[in-house]
Symmetry: D2
Subunit: 139 residues, 4 copies
Amino acid sequence: MLTNRRTLTVEWGDCDAAGIVYFPRYFEWFDAATAALFRLAGFEKHALMKTFGIVGYPLVDARARFILSSTFGDSVDIETTISRWGRSSFDVQHRLLRGEELAVEGFETRVWTVRAPGASGGLKSQAIPAEVIERFSGS
Amino acid sequence: MLTNRRTLTVEWGDCDAAGIVYFPRYFEWFDAATAALFRLAGFEKHALMKTFGIVGYPLVDARARFILSSTFGDSVDIETTISRWGRSSFDVQHRLLRGEELAVEGFETRVWTVRAPGASGGLKSQAIPAEVIERFSGS
Amino acid sequence: MLTNRRTLTVEWGDCDAAGIVYFPRYFEWFDAATAALFRLAGFEKHALMKTFGIVGYPLVDARARFILSSTFGDSVDIETTISRWGRSSFDVQHRLLRGEELAVEGFETRVWTVRAPGASGGLKSQAIPAEVIERFSGS
Amino acid sequence: MLTNRRTLTVEWGDCDAAGIVYFPRYFEWFDAATAALFRLAGFEKHALMKTFGIVGYPLVDARARFILSSTFGDSVDIETTISRWGRSSFDVQHRLLRGEELAVEGFETRVWTVRAPGASGGLKSQAIPAEVIERFSGS
């Protein structure tokens, strides 16, 4: 499977009063890492939205396990891959590493979503095109 | 069990380019709601840290299920309660409602944490004092 | 002039590793305070955008002076008023108080903005309707 | 003068409901860019705090002019330099470019700050060491 790897430096502004990363920042980084994985697969988000007529791939479930804390100045790596493709939803897994050690694990379930004026919230799910899924096979 | 209820207005700056709440904001609100529940129980955070010598109650697990999206101008209610007390960890549940409808559910596992110069990351868990737990019984 | 007053509690997640409010949070609060002032004047943002066909009132200039720092648990008040109306731009002033003391001052210059497919960035300024300005006279 | 240059990709989560960068994010980026400039000068923040006994260099003034908006997927460059050294304060200038065009300008006045238990807020300014200033001369 296609995997995205990115390195980032923890900033002063990412940390809370205990001097460690404020946990919602991990979810922001994972969200950006999912976008980076799609970019790696050839799907820059503006183009993806235009080509497939979607408003995005909003989350229905997000989870993270926090194993080791990090502080400003630390360099961390995030590895991101898609672990499941459903008809209209998919799961993303993130591993945030400090050196060789797993520091945070993230899990997202996202839905391929289009505008639907009649539907609740004005949004509904749609089948993920096969040509999208193929690009992540990494073959 | 003691339950905290707070109402908040979704702000423009909480929303993403799809016009709905950017999901990490829910985790920020839930974190603030946990602090508000402790305040309701008589434990303002600065005092809590000083009285019990803890650096806080950082998370080891956070999860949310997103059922209905919200947009700027929406008024939402968050109900927060502690669903489990362990020896040194506890679970917090959040229900974010739009009117009568459940829009987002949040789950946190947190650890009563003290500084420990020798430990990995300089932090370690500690047993939660009985007098803390008693204040949440709501009796 | 119409003035909006709101009270907020500084949250753990608003603070940086020095234990004081991370300064971009003040700009977020001021942005929300501007929206609250418009709401007080009868212009909830979704309605404002629809009624007048604007995409919003984005900033061309933002400034803040930081006089006293605040920490989590502090209660602060924000007073917001419009200090100047131009043809298509206006200035907003914010005073963040801790008790009687001025802690932070904020200044924003904003532009009444509509979509303009041909223009640079797809946006252009437009004259602010007199009926909008009148509602802020506070008379 | 020493100048730091960094490139960043605007993320989905940096944008507001108008699809453009939510302006407080620029202040976050500029704050991180100041830290990066210090790192370039040989002063990683944890080390800086320890070596010189400071709690940091908090802001007394921050300002930005927003000229061109940016959206998710855009690549932008930030150039950062110190434009003035005072006795205990200094000014930082940031230029955020999209290609050759100046999109946002940022200005910060910061103060070299130490803990002072007796002082208001428990903090006070201190003279900036000559050896710090010398490292930014870029000679």
